[in-house]
């Protein structure tokens, strides 16, 4: 290790006690919210979607909480620490403009469609929008598959960083976390989950913003960062680092095709992720003022930390630690953000950061697990066996929540099978590409059909699996990550629009209910008013 730079500190009793107290406080809040939320649902439908009365503040913070996963909060800084500016700057900034269009395009429509169709999940909304039980089942299976892959990696960074910072094995910390998550998911239902994710979103937005601004001030401004990194390795200060391999994951840092793919990846992920869009299911009807508040909350909470996590935070960490963190073979660049918090703010800021990271991982995992369990109970069991009692479905949900929480926990402690690792790589991109079309475009295009949607789900699922192998499994890689994204999104567009144009749309009665004529059109055709 170079003595010129800081090294990973040896855990002190202050770090251990601070981290344990911080995490314990977070978990106490989670249990309390779950218990309060228990009083707010009486039926299976209310368990799944609450009373559809959440305002813009809770919805906004919950959207931030679902979107800011452990990776967004920690992994993006690690990327920039390792690869320099070319790492994430473009995608990071577009991440902001990805989540805001999710509100523009999906907030009001998700709420309205779900209410008109009396649906409690995104999958059920889509099944009814296309009048197809078969499509609802296929979407449920595909969503379950992708969310499962995506959920496996959620606890990994938090568990690793916990161990590196406190020196305590993550077994007990993560086991207690998932037990608490079961309590607020099972007891609190959608309401408890929405509340917890909202609290977590506000908390990590605060910690992320604090760390980012503090780091910039500590480093002495942009000029000082440039000088320090130019002295280390000038390639760290390029927007596109051509010295990195042009295939595999590094394509997104080293070629125009790769860099231009990053906004598409971030945009489709933000808009297409079912755990993001699901935050709007329980929202009340928003006034214009409410809508502006919703945008403002997300802009402040996600915008500032996300932009700086993906640029200056990683650079300041590199400035302070050199390559010393990369010499830790087990956790490496994942330590960049927590070590940055220690370097600039001491034990106190590091404990705050670690608490936020555990919250980030747990919150996003909770959002995923709640959808996955409903995919099985509502979108498969209830759909095909409608006589199943609400009590049985709720009991089944309790069991599935426990199962879907346990598996990521198990694979955080034990290395997941190699095949699973490959599929995990492109799960987020697959989810984003498929559901950008199948969910959001279907809110606006009357001509979308169940065949178009079904073909998109099948193509996206198969190609995302192939892409995982081609980009990460094969040595040397067959494709770059950016090229894979372009093929994925183009293929989904062709199957969605092509399949829809060639087949029959749902009944006119349903479409008229979902796509009522606008006021201006009604003024031109007064006869429509009475219809």
């Amino acid at each position: 290790m170079s003595g010129q730079f800081l090294n990973i500190p040896t855990p002190t009793s202050g770090m251990v006690i601070g981290s344990v107290i911080g995490t314990a406080c977070l978990l106490i809040v989670a249990v309390a919210l779950g218990l309060i939320a228990k009083r707010r649902w009486k039926s299976y439908d209310e368990f799944l979607v609450g009373k559809r009365d959440f305002g813009p503040w809770v919805t906004g913070f919950a959207l931030c909480g679902a979107y800011l996963s452990g990776w967004a909060f920690c992994g993006s800084t690690g990327m920039v620490y390792k690869f320099g500016f070319s790492g994430m700057w473009f995608g990071g900034i577009w991440g902001l403009v990805g989540i805001i269009p999710a509100i523009w395009l999906a907030a009001t429509k998700t709420r309205d469609f779900a209410e008109k169709l009396n649906a409690t999940t995104i999958t059920e909304t889509l099944g009814r929008r296309f009048e197809s039980k078969g499509l609802q089942t296929i979407i449920a299976i595909s969503m379950l598959f992708f969310l499962f892959m995506y959920s496996v990696g959620q606890l990994k960074a938090a568990g690793g960083v916990w161990y590196a910072v406190t020196g305590l094995r993550p077994f007990w910390c993560l086991l207690i976390c998932i037990a608490i998550a079961w309590v607020f998911l099972a007891v609190g239902g959608y309401t408890g989950t929405q509340w917890f994710i909202a609290v977590k979103g506000a908390f990590i937005g605060f910690v992320g913003g604090l760390l980012s601004i503090w780091a910039l001030i500590y480093a002495g401004g942009l000029g000082k960062i440039s000088d320090a990194l130019m002295a280390q390795k000038p390639a760290l200060m390029t927007l596109m680092d051509r010295s990195l391999p042009p295939v595999g994951v590094t394509e997104v840092f080293s070629t125009y095709i790769g860099i231009m793919a990053t906004p598409i990846i971030f945009l489709t992920m933000a808009i297409g992720f079912p755990h993001n869009v699901s935050r709007f299911l329980g929202m009340k009807k928003l006034s214009n003022r409410d809508f502006a508040i919703l945008i403002g909350v997300v802009f402040v909470v996600v915008g500032i930390p996300n932009m700086l996590d993906c640029s200056s935070n990683g650079l300041v960490a590199r400035m302070l630690f050199g390559t010393n963190l990369l010499e830790n073979k087990q956790w490496g660049a994942d330590l960049a953000a927590p070590m940055l918090s220690w370097a600039i703010g001491g034990t106190g800021l590091m404990c705050l950061y670690l608490t936020a990271l555990v919250g980030a991982a747990l919150g996003t995992l909770s959002a995923l697990v709640f959808i996955m369990s409903a995919n099985v109970t509502r979108d498969i069991v209830k759909l095909w066996r409608p006589q199943t009692s609400d009590q049985s479905l709720i009991g089944m949900n309790y069991f599935l929540i426990a199962l879907f929480l346990f598996l990521p926990f198990y694979w955080t402690l034990q290395n997941p099978p190699q095949l699973l690792v490959l599929f995990m790589g492109l799960a987020a991109m697959g989810l984003g590409s498929i559901f950008f079309f199948v969910t959001v475009i279907s809110y606006y295009w009357r001509g979308a059909t169940k065949v178009g949607a079904m073909l998109t789900v099948i193509f996206g699922t198969v190609f995302a699996l192939f892409g995982g192998w081609a980009v990460m499994g094969r040595k040397p890689p067959l494709l770059g990550l950016g090229t894979t994204e372009w093929i994925l999104i183009t293929g989904c567009a062709i199957t969605y629009f092509g399949g829809s144009l060639l087949t029959k749309a749902p009944s006119a009665k349903l479409l008229d209910k979902l796509f009522p004529p606008k006021k201006a059109e009604m003024a031109i055709k007064p006869g429509l008013v009475g219809e």
Partner: protein, 39 residues
Amino acid sequence: MEQVVDPNVAWIGWALVLAFNLLLTVIGTWLILRRRREE
């Protein structure tokens, strides 16, 4: 061949994309709010 690096290019590029995104967010939101009022 080694790249010639000017760090100012990186910061200017970063700031331009950031400014563009912030502008897009404000204009997009204003347009959506205007449309909602019309509806």
